[in-house]
């Protein structure tokens, strides 16, 4: 079966509809060169996200905020507009991953290449962080930072995290937070920027593979915590 480069890109971006998506998925699985191209596409995307992330986190110049605050009261209600978007479920990955990747950059820089997938569960300290911390309100110096939260195909809540001891993705089941993907954390790894971008790409690609629908926004995350992530 022939797959065009355009289709392959659309597949990597999750843009193909069925049945074509399944056909391309099978072709990619059977052909290492195509798998490489999908991987390169996603890695470039992660690298671009990291590249532009500092802009999202840097303070806004006054000349940009002033015209808005002067007229804010009579202007379109940005908050309401945002809520409407959220209600329609279009809080998109790129939006949430940008800041999340920025937050994780300092830690991601130290992540080693490659990852193992253990079958274990989170220990007490990690469990506490996964249970309690919210992306929006966690302390900036927390030993483990939560990067983002989402639901997997089984409808369970999963959270991507980065910490001193380990970083990865954990999903909540009946017994606790099961570790899906982990990497050694900040304490042990070499300082190599190039590795960092591919490692951040790996976590992001895995999160997108595991996730169904968009990442949770702050309100959804708080509600999920209220239900003990069930």
């Amino acid at each position: 079966m022939s797959v065009t480069r355009e289709e392959l890109a659309a597949f990597a971006d999750g843009e193909l509809g069925e049945p074509r998506r399944s056909e391309v998925e099978a072709a990619v699985a059977a052909e290492p060169a195509m798998m490489d191209e999908v991987e390169r596409h996603r890695t470039l995307k992660a690298r671009l996200a990291l590249h532009f992330a500092p802009i999202l986190d840097s303070p806004l110049p006054q000349r940009l905020t002033a015209p808005l605050s002067a007229t804010a009261s009579k202007v379109v209600d940005f908050g309401a507009a945002k809520q409407r978007r959220a209600a329609r479920g279009v809080a998109r990955w790129g939006w949430i991953l940008g800041p999340a990747l920025a937050a994780s950059l300092a830690l991601a820089v130290f992540l080693p290449h490659g990852s193992q997938a253990p079958g274990g569960y989170a220990g007490p300290q990690l469990t506490a962080a996964l249970d309690d911390q919210l992306v929006a309100t966690q302390a900036s110096n927390a030993p483990t930072r939560i990067l983002l939260s989402f639901r997997n195909r089984g409808g369970r809540f999963c959270r991507a995290f980065a910490g001193q001891a380990q970083s990865g993705i954990a999903c909540k089941d009946d017994q606790g937070w099961r570790l899906r993907v982990t990497e050694a954390g900040a304490a042990t790894a070499p300082k190599d920027y190039r590795m960092a971008s591919s490692s951040a790409a790996a976590i992001m690609a895995r999160a997108q593979d595991v996730a169904v629908g968009p990442a949770l926004d702050a309100t959804e995350e708080e509600a999920a915590r209220g239900r003990d992530w069930r």
């Binding site: 690298r47 671009l48 500092p54 806004l60 507009a81």
Partner: protein, 153 residues
């Protein structure tokens, strides 16, 4: 207001330079305030403002071309909140320079999909082209960028 950081990011990529990007962002905010009556509640405010930003930028580019003033400082990298590491600075510079080499239509496709996270359909609506065209521009821009960056991606 919540949109501003994202608008700034798109502007920096579009204008190829953070300082020019902030000028573009400011112009977009001003025009959005003037034209706020035209925004349809219930439609996406972000797409509306991205489209407006793009139009302002195209108008400006035409004016600049007429003045035959298209020089862009080679060394002007991303100066916002840079981490400070030498290696990091070099890496950031490479991406900036690579993006600058892309034709405008390919660069905006790459920025909207790969940085801003829009779906192909949404990005095509902002640009005002068919989805297939957007898809093809994205692939050509992506390949050129990958070639520019070499295999170290």
């Amino acid at each position: 207001m919540a949109l501003l950081p994202r608008l700034r990011r798109f502007a920096a990529g579009l204008a190829r330079d953070p300082a020019d990007g902030d000028d573009l962002c400011q112009a977009t905010v001003m025009r959005a305030l003037e034209k706020r009556e035209l925004w349809q509640p219930g439609t996406r405010l972000d797409s509306w403002m991205y489209r407006m930003m793009r139009n302002i930028w195209i108008d400006d580019s035409r004016a600049r071309t007429r003045r035959a003033e298209t020089f862009v400082g080679e060394e002007a990298g991303l100066s916002v909140a840079r981490g400070g590491g030498q290696e990091e600075a070099v890496t950031l510079g490479v991406i900036d320079r690579g993006l600058r080499t892309l034709p405008d239509e390919q660069r905006e496709a790459v920025l909207l999909v790969m940085v801003e996270g829009y779906s192909y359909k949404e990005a095509a609506a902002i640009v005002g082209c068919p989805v297939g065209t957007l898809n093809s521009r994205l692939v050509r821009g992506r390949d050129a960028l990958l070639a520019w960056l070499g295999d170290g991606v």
